[in-house]
């Protein structure tokens, strides 16, 4: 029972890791907490739903479509709404993306309605058996896909010029600009890549259970707790934190009550922000007095 819960938790945690890495990368480069990331995920889920329902495509293939669609949407949102506040105080961007999240929730409600939808390809209710344990196929495929996409993103970050300029911008925007990185373009690509990762994550999320436009708030809470636990801006931290939360939620559902499992991420946020605001892997650097 315990090991089984652990397995389920790790599978879910892998998906969380993909979702949270998008949020944390956007923060790392732009110092913006994109509260609308939860809405991006749900939007990816609805795009997957439509493609599956109308075209009969398997959600695991729709991932590509959802990613591209969300990349484009993210790019557009960046230029319309986010770019003007990039240099503004954090408060401004938090309020802006908070408003954006509800705006998108309303738009999704118009397009897809407010009744919960589920994406149910043939394998949703079946499991693979490993000895006495079982691996639900939807979670397993979602997990594998999440790992593949994260590995691809990691390759982009470490092996391409784009990735190097993103990392350069993350460590010092001014220095990156001085050595010829076009910051505005990098920021746009980062934001769009973050949205694309949410699009991919949304496709996987759509397999995991029913969702409505309002689910965005549940997801953004989860993601926030993960990035806060992992240390804002740290991708490895986010991965570790995602696994911790996935396992924690699974344990909570099994041993306490599924009703309280959403509260776990909130308690995590409280605990970490009150005790160790820099998270697990976030180091507290010299907050220079000369800002």
């Amino acid at each position: 029972m315990f090991v089984q819960t652990l397995i389920l938790g790790i599978l879910v945690g892998g998906v969380y890791a993909l979702l949270a890495s998008g949020l944390t990368v956007i923060f790392g480069v732009m110092r913006i907490i994109n509260i609308a990331q939860g809405a991006f995920i749900i939007m990816g889920g609805f795009i997957t739903y439509t493609a599956w329902k109308r075209l009969g495509l398997d959600p695991l293939i729709v991932v590509v479509i959802s990613m591209i669609a969300m990349y484009v949407i993210g790019w557009a949102i960046y230029f319309v709404a986010v770019r003007p506040v990039r240099r503004a105080p954090v408060t401004t961007s938090v309020l802006l993306t908070f408003g954006l999240a509800f705006f998108l929730e309303g738009v999704m409600g118009f397009i897809w309605g407010n009744n919960s939808v589920t994406v149910r390809p043939s394998y949703v209710d079946t499991s693979l058996h490993l000895g006495q344990f079982y691996l639900p196929q939807n979670l397993l495929y979602g997990f594998i896909l999440a790992i593949v996409i994260m590995a691809a993103l990691q390759l982009i970050f470490t092996r391409t010029w784009l990735g190097r300029s993103i990392r350069a911008a993350a460590s010092s925007e001014d220095a990156a600009r001085l050595v010829g990185v076009k910051i505005s373009a990098v920021a746009a690509v980062t934001f769009a890549l973050g949205a694309a990762s949410a699009g991919a994550g949304g496709a996987i999320v759509s397999l995991m259970g029913p969702f409505v436009p309002g689910s965005q708030i549940l997801w953004i809470t989860r993601l926030l707790s993960i990035v806060v636990l992992g240390g804002l801006g740290s991708v490895p931290g986010a991965v570790i934190a995602a696994l911790i939360l996935g396992v924690g939620e699974a344990l909570m559902s099994t041993y306490v009550s599924p009703l309280w499992s959403p509260a776990l991420s909130i308690f995590l946020i409280f605990f970490i922000l009150a005790v160790r605001p820099q998270g697990i892997l976030g180091t507290k650097l010299r907050e220079d007095v000369a800002q």
């Binding site: 938090v94 908070f98 408003g99 509260a263 909130i266 409280f270 922000l273 007095v289």
Partner: protein
Amino acid sequence: MSAGTPGPAGPGRVTPGPVAKGSGTTTARRLSRRALLLPVGVVCILIAILPVLTGNQYYQNMVIISLVIAVGAVGLNIITGFAGYPSLAQGAFLGVGAYTAAIGSVKIGGSPFYWMVLAGIVAGFMAFLLGLLSLRTRGFSFAIITVSFLLLTRIIVQNWRGLTNGSDGITLPLPYWDRAYMNWPFHFALVALLILSLLLAWRIRRTKFGVGLIAMREDEDKAGAVGVNSPTYKLVGFVCSAVFVGMAGAVYGYYLTFVDPIGMLGLLFSVQIILAVLLGGKGTIWGPVLGAFIIEPLNEVANNQLGGGNIRLVIFGGGLVLVVLLLPQGIIPTLRKKITLYQERKHPGLTGARIELCERPMPAVRPELSPVNILEVRDLNKRFGGLQAVNGCSFGVPEGSITGLIGPNGSGKTTVFNIITGMMKADSGEVYLDGKRIDGLSPWNRAHLGLARTFQITRLFGEMTVLENLVAPLRDFSVGQLNRTAMTGAEAAKAEELLALVGMTAYRDRPCSALSYGQRKLVELAQVLALEPRVILLDEPAGGINPTLIERLGELIVELNGSGKTFLIVEHNMPFVMGLCNPIRVLARGATICEGSPEHVQQDQCVLEAYLGGDYAVEPKGEAVA
């Protein structure tokens, strides 16, 4: 603050500078205010007595909900507008108040109006808890913690069915009064609550408490450095922002005669409250009210004409985006700025005006070095990740001296400053002020003990005027202080004296954000002097300012030193340091490598090596030194 405190400048009575040019503008603003007073007053009174004028339920309902949002917004403005903390949890306090009244009146009995007081107390207590939880958070982490708080409140209400009846909600008793007066009690109770919240906000704006909150908004670390006890201010601000909202929640719940988690703890309600504050103008007294009375009619239109639900999300979510993008200042400040610009178009600005230097006798002899260290650090260590920034640093600052702290870039000078003033915690080591160990104290407590500092890149409260910056420093903390008038006549007079001392009188009413770099340095010096410190730490006072000003600064330091202030100065301008300071401490790689008189330090082999590298041929001393 006692009235007759002598200014820090013992010698040199100062001739008062010319009267600031800002006064003309102030009169004009008063006039335009008076012109507005009548129509605005009439509208307010009409709204306040609306149910007497019309029996129309639609309008009565609209005004009641507007009032609820207005009370929420005026409260939120205290923590968000004054103190700069973007709280998304305001809706939670409303819901908590409503639930307190509902549970009390159903389970125990009595009119929900009686429970209103308890609702306020419970909301205030919750705000206190949230304040405690969020003490270490700022900016986005604060926003995250508040939105989590709202969600957690909702989850608890949904799941604690024994108390709250879960998602089914609680039906309150029906009003017992005559149907003819149906909405009157709700309406007038809310009007009273709104007036009380406005009075509170108005009062706060005029006290030390309000100035402290605004200082925290502008720069919280700096506020700490000039003696503002920021955690306490934040907690009190939080409680103030929630109490009346909790009470309004009780009235609102009774008005609806039904509370449930979705209606009372919805996120959209918080969004609307924030939007009201931003739209009307955060930091102003009336802005949030104006915002609320714009938001709620929009809400009714969205509900009745446009079908509600998703359109409300689109309107208010999108509205928040638009206001942040297009009207970040809000309606009232934007209008005010337009009016001021219009009235000022004929007046030339102060840009380029000269800083007056006034003649004062210089103290003739430098005092002998005291054997007693007023400030002492022992074996400080500080590590940033892999970098040992401070490595066993120890030195003393003799009482009444002007001590110089020099060293190559990256030798740990600013970090030592940060550790001494408490803006940073050392990994190990001790700091003593006047024999008392202070390394466990908060920055404001150290400031209260007489330790003041300036910053390498000056930090002033940009939105405040020069004069307000000078009365912001606090020399102690007490609960009574919170309610003290922001600027007494005596304080203003003392601030004027300090301004005259640094020659910045003409800039008294300018916002600090409009000053040049060198001018800010002088104002910052005057600001820390307002703390009446015993030890003043200057971080690169001569950096980036012109030679005349540097000279002026040197004179000032000598003069203040003559009146008994001890200085510790970090500076790269060697002629300045060598001419001014004695003794000098040299820092390299985080440790003191040499101490002594300027002459001694200039000849020390270690110092030359640290600055110039080992293979540098030593020139005969003397030429470079002023």
